[in-house]
Symmetry: D2
């Protein structure tokens, strides 16, 4: 198939590569063109504009950074450039409100719209082992399913409303943040009673909570080291904001999300915007007057 | 060794059985004697009083229900009956304050004291596969280590202060409650946007959060079924209280514990004291005006 | 002076009337023209458009409903229509972000901008007894001071940055909401122990908390009657949102604002959007399983 | 009447003096006897023990510090020493649980029990201008009413259950703490946007919130001066604890009380136990990274 891929950040580059390796004709675009070089070497065509990457495509994927970028690039030019009947697959973590806008605008233009946000880090994306939640019109999803399988170890179907996969992604990121804050508070409690965070967390990580989130983020909290950064605290703050806006829209009180928001605000105020969001744990420790 | 075992509830009975199977001479006692019968069949001696179970013992284990029972039985008669140089191993989930009292009273009486609270359910206890956190004087811990290994798949050493294993157990139970409340809020959010709890939680349980706690409790929330009961909401409320008291004692602010406490109060008010504590999820759903 | 007055709701109408009675030439405009009739009788000229009310004015006041209305009407046409050197006085409760936009857009157009939000209810506005907080460039404020004194019992100067009066208004409304939630929780506590809300609140209102907010809102909670409506719950929710956005912008954690937000979400979900915001008390009572 | 007065702290001494001036025969007792001297000069008899102050008394008042002191002194010796038919009036701020114990133990001993906690500071107590909430058996209350009127500007009847006046006092102190935390958060918000706390609070104190609590505590926050101490932060923490225990007993979720508790824990951790509890405001400022 003729595929356009827009947004070649640490996640997108690996995803585009897997589509190329899958034998598809891929035209890529990224704001800073330089990052497209390695893909060109793999056989991708590099477009000068996002519209050019969309022109004549059967399917366009985007892995852009946030709502603003999706609004500007997709609503700004890609949707216009796509041929009727083409499909747009959004992998970015966006707001429920934007997902609703995209669904109706695509509908009006006769373009298929598939929500396919992903769980996984850059190396997982590069290996084609992402976990992907997907929702959209059955026929549109069916058409892109083979492409999604080139990107993901598992594709989790979430039904025909594009909003569904989006809220699952948002809910998942909230759960990660809640786990970080919970580990942070529990570690402050055990530290205050003489147990080192690593000794407490090691038990949790290998028994009740033996899972990627508790191992990865708990490991950072155990060592109180928040670099190298897996996911920036400022991005985590943005995603908790997406959960809170989605909750407000449907009148869903989420007190843990409020606690998380207030702790993250304090982290940002302390100047921790660019460390891994596990660094949120510094706030719980500081509130308990524990030394870093 | 000559061992006394006090408290034969759903956890204690299986633990005592494993000590008997280990080839030890075990004298058991339980407030309601009837539950001791099966152990008698395995070769245990049934004592008429807790003191009698302690008399002449090298080691006495207890798996009593709470602080009140431990104070009454252990401080009330067992400590008095134990020969100097004997060791008392506490498996019950107790408060930090009581652990501190026990440490000093045992010290004064020349009795060794080992904290060895456990993570695991009755079937796990019966199989001798508990996860056990242990702390106490090295020589005392060394003496009972072979016994602990008859009860646990793994023994996690926490150092020489009996309080340490206690706070790790308390911190672990707080983490479970926090995970339940977090899943409850996230599920209310996704449900409000059209995704069934089971569809959202299935992804979490098999990816980011693939761990016993998210599988067991998430499974109950997914089905909105809180029976059969693994751990009663009223007991979870008690344990969150232990975390909050321990936090107050060391001036550790724990906002998630506060949110958890307030939600559990609402559950108890609704009449849910006797369902599994995953049933806490009903509060988040009710606050969001979602039907059960 | 030649004055334009835009926005003739329950507050604006009374304010405009006081400017007319003050002997000024007032041109009024309101989206639904009918409400302008009584002012015409007092001597006001009714404009067909907001721009017309602004044309040739020395000063234009607005008492519009919210950010959206101010953006549409003021930025959409009034600013364009005002003669250079004129002054725009904003009495509406708006966001800090909009206040910053207005300050720079007015500056660029050579129009003076004065923030003058008010505390008080319609009858107080009609009597010219509002409490008004004012900030803006000293010369602009000085020019409109005589007009402001026709509207307010007291004008509280807040300095030269238009944002300052806005944040004082937002902070004040947050304090009212916090007082309502606090009275709601305290009343639920005392009711649960056998004391009627009115008996508890009567003591508070006449001793420690003898002030308008505790008398007016406490009175509604005491009787559990939330009509007639002084200030709609949905508007209170909007204003708490203004406080939270302003807090986010400067990284100010406000846990009470978070509690307030979550309780208001629950009120809205219950269908209480149109009762007085003291009706928030129903949530605290419901959470405590108290009958209305 | 023959009156015993127990507990001559900064409040009790002034109250005892007013009973003496009222022409009653007053026998006083205080743990540290020295403080009784000035009352002896006014005509009081100084007892060597609390029991001696109770012996032969028609009425015994106590203004002891807390539950522990009341349990030790009243249940420990005074109740025993009082003649059947005598009345004990408790002015101390105690827990609901203790009030229930006292009601039944007094009943069993044939002693009348009246709850009469007070609102007011030492100088107000000395002037006999306290606000006093009273509950207990009508005949008992009627008998002591003339005495209470010597102590209070106003006596607020709360019915026949001694618990009622206690919960009103506890609810009132919670409301004060909630007002302090609310002012602290609002001031941090306005400060972060360039308005000094005193400028914001001055408007509140003289308009919407013109009441003793907002003036006294708001005044301290405005100046960021928490000495001289009106009410110690550590005592405020104790009283918020009484509210939370009473709420737990009746399953009343109080999220603002939880926020208040967590903020006070942080204050205590910072070393602020002995400043006025308005000093809680330092925590909101620190969380927002504002300089003291």
């Amino acid at each position: 198939m003729r595929i356009g891929f827009i947004g070649l950040g640490s996640m997108g580059a690996g995803m585009a590569a897997n589509l190329i390796k899958g034998g598809h004709e891929v035209v890529v675009w990224n704001r800073t063109a330089s990052v497209a070089k390695p893909l060109e070497a793999l056989g991708a065509t590099v477009a000068a504009t996002a519209a050019e990457a969309a022109k004549g495509a059967d399917v366009v994927h985007n892995m852009l950074a946030n709502d603003a970028a999706v609004r500007e690039v997709i609503l700004g030019s890609v949707l216009e450039a796509l041929p009727r009947g083409a499909i747009h697959v959004n992998h970015a973590t966006i707001s429920v409100a934007l997902a609703e806008d995209l669904a109706s605008t695509h509908e009006a233009r006769g373009i298929g719209f598939v929500s396919a946000p992903v769980f996984g880090r850059p190396e997982v994306a590069a290996a084609g082992n992402l976990n992907m939640v997907v929702s959209g019109k059955p026929e549109a999803v069916a058409k892109v399913q083979p492409l999604l399988e080139l990107l993901a170890a598992k594709v989790w179907p979430m039904g025909d409303d594009p909003v569904r996969a989006v809220i699952v992604k948002i809910g998942g990121n909230f759960l990660i943040g809640a786990a970080i804050e919970s580990m942070a508070e529990a570690s402050a409690l055990t530290r205050a009673h003489g147990v080192e965070a690593k000794d407490f967390l090691e038990v949790m990580q290998n028994t009740l909570f033996a899972s990627p989130v508790y191992k990865i983020y708990g490991g950072m909290i155990a060592e109180n080291r928040y670099e190298p950064v897996g996911f920036k605290l400022s991005l985590g703050f943005k995603d908790v904001g997406l959960a809170r806006s989605a909750a407000d829209a449907k009148r869903v009180p989420m007190p843990v999300a409020s606690v998380l928001h207030d702790a993250m605000l304090e982290s940002l105020g302390r100047g921790d915007a660019d460390i891994d969001w596990a660094g949120l744990a510094r706030v719980a420790a500081a509130r308990a007057q524990l030394k870093d």
